[in-house]
């Protein structure tokens, strides 16, 4: 029988991972999601010329109404509250008529994707950074620590930086042509003729993509807490905006992400009430039972797109080893490929859904009909 060797059994399940930045979807048993699209809903307003304006909004939605021949479905959602969960279950079973369904927490799946059932999952995504202790495959809810300093926070800081520099963020769809200018000079570009009218939100969305691209390619986390002299000596990175403005960024590339790890320096924060990433981790572990702390420190799983900034893991390693007692064995697990780190929750879901021993854990339609929405709470830990 296929998969009998490693304990897998393909049932034809779909795995969905809803993030606040992007949605990952694909078949279970594969090693990366087939679809990865941004979490925005585009609503087209009626126009004669058929162009699609998009009013962007938050949260989930399926872009295309595909009819997929599936048997089963597994969703993975950040667990906000019971109402959301129950609503989701209801939606799945009644609206979409799914035969079986299962919800699992993303932290647990990230841990599974890295081969562990116990560990501290540090997820730094776009909206927030969370440290979630996972023990034996169950999340310890009382140890979850959240901080709003994440990708969006850094985008905001980048935006401020550009404002300070007096540079205008122009998304690519506006630009018709541009001339090359020397460094630091204001950009010379021509606006496209006959641009259709776009909504404010869509324009913002496109600007955000520009900033996010800047963020991903230029920013770096330094090895030690931010120091003016050290930063001035770092090599500069050249970056060109879509409108032609190009510049070398030196100290700023280190300054902005440092706000993540040490918020006392960052601008725009009210006092020192925010926790840096290192503090988030240690607080989370500190809230757990002392017997499991070595286990948690021994497998700190780093996931989330925001952690892909250059130097993030090294700096985190350093901070944690400073804060833990010297006898503690600290191990950071961070996959180096972008795919694995961004999609680790999805990959964990894929692994879980294809296990032979998992097949008994689905919530089937029958169970839902018998038990109602509360069965989700019981069956999905």
């Amino acid at each position: 029988m296929s998969g009998g060797v490693y304990g897998g059994d393909e049932v034809g399940a779909l795995v969905f991972d809803m993030g606040s930045y992007s949605v990952r979807a694909g078949y279970a048993g594969e090693d990366c999601p087939k679809a990865d699209f941004p979490t925005v809903i585009g609503v087209t307003l009626d126009r004669e010329d058929g162009s699609t304006l998009m009013e962007t909004d938050g949260e989930k939605g399926k872009q295309s109404a595909t009819t997929y021949y599936i048997d089963t479905n597994q969703l993975r959602v950040p667990r906000e509250s019971m109402e959301v969960i129950e609503k989701l279950t209801e939606l799945m079973f009644e609206h979409y008529n799914i035969p079986a369904f299962f919800l699992c927490k993303s932290a647990v799946l990230s841990a599974f994707a890295n081969g562990r059932s116990t560990g501290l999952v540090l997820d730094s995504g776009s909206t927030h950074t969370t440290a979630i202790p996972v023990h034996d495959g169950y999340v310890l809810q009382q140890g979850i620590v959240k901080s709003p300093l994440a990708g969006d926070f850094m985008s905001m800081q980048c935006r401020e930086l550009f404002q300070e520099l007096g540079v205008e963020i122009v998304p690519p769809y506006v630009i018709a042509s541009k001339d090359s200018v020397r460094e630091g000079a204001p950009a010379i570009w021509k606006k496209k003729e006959k641009l259709p009218q776009v909504t404010r939100s869509w324009h913002n969305y496109m600007c955000n993509t520009v900033i996010q691209d800047f963020q991903a390619s230029v920013l770096q986390v330094s090895d030690s807490p931010y120091d003016e002299q050290v930063a001035a000596q770092m090599p500069t990175v050249h970056y060109e905006l879509p409108n032609g403005y190009n510049c070398d960024f030196g100290a700023e590339r280190l300054k902005i992400p440092d706000g993540l790890l040490d918020p006392s320096n960052a601008k725009g924060l009210s006092g020192n009430t925010m926790l840096g990433v290192g503090h988030v981790v240690t607080t989370s572990v500190g809230m757990c039972d002392i017997d499991i702390r070595p286990g948690l420190y021994g497998s700190v799983v780093v996931t989330g797109g925001n952690t892909l900034i250059q130097g993030f893991t090294d700096r985190l390693n350093r901070e944690l080893s400073q804060k833990t007692p010297p006898s503690m064995r600290l191990k950071l697990i961070a996959n180096n490929t972008t795919v694995e780190r961004r999609f680790s929750a999805w990959i964990g879901g894929s692994i879980l859904a294809s296990l032979g021993t998992f097949q008994q854990m689905w919530i089937s339609k029958q169970e839902y009909e018998e038990g109602g929405k509360q069965c989700v709470d019981r069956k999905c830990p």
Binding site: V11, Q360, S364
Partner: protein, 464 residues
Amino acid sequence: MTTGADVRDILELAGGDNDSGPISKKDIINSDKKKAKKVTETLTFKRPEGMHREVYALLYSDKNRDAPPLLPSDTTQGYRTVKAKLGCKKVRPWKWMPFSNPARKDGTIFHHWRRAAEEGKDYPFARFSKTVQVPLYSEQEYQMYLHDDGWTKAETDHLFDLCKRFDLRFIVIHDRYDHQQYRKRSVEDLKERYYNICGKLTKVRAGTGTEPKIYIFDAGHERRRKEQLERLFNRTPEQVAEEEYLIQELRKIETRKKEREKKSQDLQKLITAADTTTEMRRAERKATKKKLPQKRETEKPAVPETAGIKFPDFKSAGVSLRSQRMKLPSSVGQKKIKAIEQILTEQGVDLNPMPTEEIVHMFNELRSDLVLVYELKQAYSNCEYEQQMLRHRYDALLKAGGTVTPLSESSGAPDSQSWPGADDIKTEAKEQLIDVVGAPLTPNSRKRRESASSSSSIKKVKKP
């Protein structure tokens, strides 16, 4: 070194097994008939395909071709690199089949791909569905045995429900415990209650006669252990450093204490040796005067042999020179030899007297006594030095402490030159409260020795 046979074997050419042994004299010189004989005699074991020739050579070397292997094995399988058998047979068909998992309670039908031949067999993963046995109690049992003041029935039920759901993972149970509705319980509380109930139930249900094995959970011990772990975890680096420093200091103190004890013991031995030898001598002389040889013999075994020099007793068979008995044993150190020589020359005694019986005996005794005196003097001067040091320290501490009552000067030092680094002592006094054992042999020690030897102490010993 590869022979032609090896080369052929590597290249897997034919004709490998004919005469693959090393070429010997016989092969060259011998006639053909013997060669032919050899060929027919030997059984050729064909090396199984896929086995490396070195491995094969270990098994069946040239000499012991007919040695059977210790464990008969089947070499037809296993050494072949398994290649995919893309045969000409038809592909076994796979079907998208429905199946039900016996571990599920609702009997949902799922579909998956399976070989058509395996239809109808059980779902193989069902056997992995194991759960922990959590005991269930009835209402009655609860009322009778399990009643507890700190726990209501509802709370106990909640606890057991969680235990069942989470398979006794107490940390997760503690995390999911409803703290708003019930009181805040620690992990130990939950464990304690659970194991208490389990214990009572097993006792009750076991019936009479059998003594069931109950797991005793010591909650107090667990609490103390966790508290200690917390404290250990929360130690600051300064505390850790301080602890290490204290441990080191403790070790230093212990070693110094041991040294001191050893020295005092040595000293003790020396003194007793000196006392007993003098006693013995007096007894000897008295005995010779009063002509009572018996006393001498009773007192002899009391002398410890570590003091003085032990001259080896010459039990030679045959002829030997008496002067050999006068020779100093090699165990005596250079300094002692020099000291002996010095004293002897000062007193005008010949260093190598005529070895008559009596002279040899007396000379050996003399030298032994001299060594004893030397050792005693050294010990004495060491003690004096120590006393001086401590006195200085004490004065320094007093001064540092603020009270001004310096002790009177040290008495009876043989030499009164300034001690090296009296200022150092004062500054060190605060740090080194632990005394230093053993006087270093400064240049003063020689002066000390000379002055000691020239003093009247030797004369005292000579007189009875």
